[in-house]
Amino acid sequence: MSIHAVMAPDVLFHIGPFVVTNSMLTAWVVMIFLVGVSLLATRRMSVVPESRLQNLMELIVEFLLDLAEKTAGSQVGRRVFPLVATLFIFILTANWFGILPGVGTIKLVDPHHPEHAAPLFRAATSDLNMTIAMALIVIVIVQVLGVTTNGVRGYLRELSTPLLLTPIHLIGELSHVISLSARLFGNIFGGEVLLAVMFALVPYFVPVVFMGLEMFFGFIQALIFSVLAIVYISLAASGHGSEEHAGAH
């Protein structure tokens, strides 16, 4: 029984100095899919939606706007909504793309090394590089918002309120990157390993249950990532209030 589980994504080919891995390829496929669906849905927009696709998109956008406004208040919520909705939709699509047949099973065989076969597609969020990149986007925005709302002096003062705790504050800010990225990566990659083990143990019918579970987890993880992004950003944007907020949660 051999289960293909590697943490680093396989390299497919090189473009100049850049390396193209299979998870990058999947991320581009997901992006093209999302852009195509969005173009289709907004092609003939009407105030009262006539096409079912526009209805579906409005449902998703309204759900996300409601989530953002409920979590961060209507003013900050509307400001963070575009970023958070983009993250949510991309993560959800990328997670569910990993369950599609063909992802991870279609292999590209190198003619010079026939024993080394790399999967052509790999779920984009099961690559630690991707999740770290998304977590870094969120955390950089949090820091920039912290500086713009409090000013440089206020930002530094908040970081070193009890002077002795400055390193702890710094580690706390940096650990958001690790916790956001490792949570998403671990869930999706772990789910793939679980599915591979199940396919090896019981090839018929039983894995369907776990695929359903993976769809549920993919949705929950996308939701958690975006809710945490909203919370971090709204804490930074609400000015001098992070201590009281931290006490309230």
């Binding site: 943490m7 490792a182 949570r183 990566f185 671990g186 772990g190 929950i220 993880q221 958690i224």
Partner: protein, 76 residues
């Protein structure tokens, strides 16, 4: 014991011990949510969505242990 054996043992212990806390935490979260739904059945939707979010956050601790076990067994 060989180094490889020790690393495998460490990976198994990492995920095994790391799963205890989140298991207890999710159990407590679900039991409290069920109590709350039992008292106020009309709040079921709000309680359920918040509970799933909290359970997902608690589960993340097990996922960190899992990532460490993966790093131990696949990378080291």
């Amino acid at each position: 014991m060989t180094d490889d054996g020790l690393i495998r043992l460490a990976a198994g212990l990492a995920i095994g011990l790391g799963a205890i806390g989140p298991g207890l935490g999710i159990g407590i979260a679900v039991s409290k949510a069920m109590e709350a739904i039992g008292r106020n059945p009309e709040t079921e939707n709000a309680v359920r969505s918040t509970m799933i979010l909290g359970a997902g956050l608690a589960e993340a601790v097990a996922i960190y242990a899992f990532v460490i076990a993966l790093i131990l067994s696949l990378v080291v």
